[in-house]
Amino acid sequence: MDYRTDRQRALGLGASGEGSQHWWSQRVSSIALVILTPLFLWIYVPLLGADHADVRQAFGHPFRAIAGILFIMVLFHHLRQGLQVVIEDYVHNRPVLTALTIGSTLFCWAFGVTGVFAIASMAFGR
């Protein structure tokens, strides 16, 4: 027997109130990362331990900067979604769950935007 009202069934959002949106978004970001992760390693690992002037010079190239910004954005988006799932699975104390969800969201936005800004500032030659 289905206890949902006709309206709730038509909306299809389930108990979470957001339907399959989180699940779907996590798949899309993981497919993006399958492309972006090897690209990021290929572009950025050689810069580790390089001369500072050469590193700044390298970020002036639009391809490197765009690949880096895309990677950081999608990485922290995917990280936030993954952390949310882990928190929801293991934390059963409601106030702690809410605090951790908000905290991990703020953490991901803060570090994601900082990383994007760092690359952009070098790309635009600040």
């Binding site: 399958v34 331990g49 990280l79």
Partner: protein, 129 residues
């Protein structure tokens, strides 16, 4: 009526009861590496911020990350990244509805473990040798 006293209700056997198997261990490590990669993500952003700052601060952070302890942390992160990458691709294949037979699941589990080690070694050889 359900038993209101939750403490006296029997629980189903949990993680500590079962012998570790390749499918459970790969699943657990997918989560562990995912959460662990938070540290790697923070280090990457730290390095980027240092690069966009002055040469002296970049030298300090870059020197720290290329020291032997930095190499251990970044090398471990590299394996975690490739492992999470491989098990993630395995999950995407599962999402299509394919690869659920027991022999296939066991086989793909070992493939994923082997591939993560090979990809880590290949990355290290390509950039650090």
């Amino acid at each position: 009526m359900p038993d209101p006293d939750l403490k006296t209700r029997p629980l189903s056997p949990h993680l500590t009861i079962y012998r570790p198997q390749i499918n459970s261990v790969t699943s657990i490590f997918h989560r562990v590496t995912g959460v662990g990669l938070v540290l790697a993500a923070v280090l990457v952003v730290w390095w980027l911020v240092a690069a966009s700052s002055g040469a002296a601060y970049f030298g300090f952070v870059d020197g720290l990350l290329t020291s032997w302890i930095g190499f251990l942390v970044l090398g471990g992160s590299l394996w975690a990244l490739w492992y999470h990458f491989c098990t993630g691709v395995r999950h995407l294949v599962w999402d299509t509805g394919a690869g659920y037979g027991m022999t296939v699941v066991t086989g793909s589990g070992w493939v994923v473990v082997g591939a993560s080690v090979l990809l880590t070694a290949a990355t290290l050889l390509a950039f650090c040798a």
